[in-house]
Amino acid sequence: MSDTWRIGPLELESRVLLGTARYPTRAILFDALEASGTQLVTVALRRVRPTGDGEDLYRGLVERGYHLLPNTAGCFTVREAVTTAELAREALGTALVKLEVIADDVTLLPDPEATVRAADQLVQRGFVVLPYTNDDPVTARRLADVGCAAVMPLAAPIGTGLGIRNPHNLELIRALVDVPVIVDAGIGTASDAAIAMELGCDAVLLNTAVARADDPVEMARAMGLAVRAGRAAKRAGRAPRQLMAEASTSMSDVARFAAYESSKEMD
């Protein structure tokens, strides 16, 4: 059953977006990307080093057919984020941008007000904006209102792996905006990713949970399976919850042996 989704100009089958940072080696990174099934991967933009390392990454990803989603990681102001996005569009030839405007370097939490203003400016400049945001339904709606192509609420702070701290907020966000909802940051293991999808989110963006697993490639595979499983469960529609037990096996036509109880001890 076809279940593609759209983000700006892209039609995607995979609902896993994977970051490219913190892997033990470049070879493990590429194997993990493949194992996850991802089609859209995040990169940062940094000063070139004489080693040429960054160029290798760019070419390695493009040669393998991945779509790139440059981020504005490390930006604290609207101006920094907008300039970084412009540089990324110029370098990578994509209008997609993962907008991050963080409030401080301790919590790495998004600055909601600056994120909305930067998103507004980037939309005006023709970008396909995917903003990293708090799990706040009001901020998410404002981001959608200014024309973002998706909203990306956090499950928990970046790199914590604490899983989904406020599932109700994610459900509210899903109900309040018409654009894709991508859970970004804080996913710790495969069940977190499955829950995000069961809550109705459209995709999951991961990095540390895969890159810092004991076996990143196997965790990438697990994440791909979990996202597919969670998505399938959401589409299937869960059976209702209820307070009291209800036998799944029929209680009628059970053979009864109570009459023999006094004649022979069985327990």
Partner: protein, 65 residues
């Protein structure tokens, strides 16, 4: 003349262009972006000449989340 490339002093010939500065670091042009004095310089404008003390940023894609 001296300019700053990624915050380090670099000696370039007088009249050197943005493209000349980029070639110091990489033979590639794709995957590279340049800002001069905080303004993005598009690839089509890399023939633009630099001036002494210009602050040049040369950026490439790196690992990111």
């Amino acid at each position: 003349m001296n300019v700053f490339i990624n915050d380090e002093i670099a000696a370039l010939d007088d009249g050197a262009s943005v493209a000349d500065a980029v070639r110091r670091f990489t033979a590639h042009t794709e995957g590279v972006a340049v800002a001069v004095n905080g303004e993005v310089v598009r690839r089509a404008e890399w023939a633009t000449r630099l001036a002494a003390d210009d602050r040049v940023e040369i950026l490439v894609a790196t690992a990111g989340g």
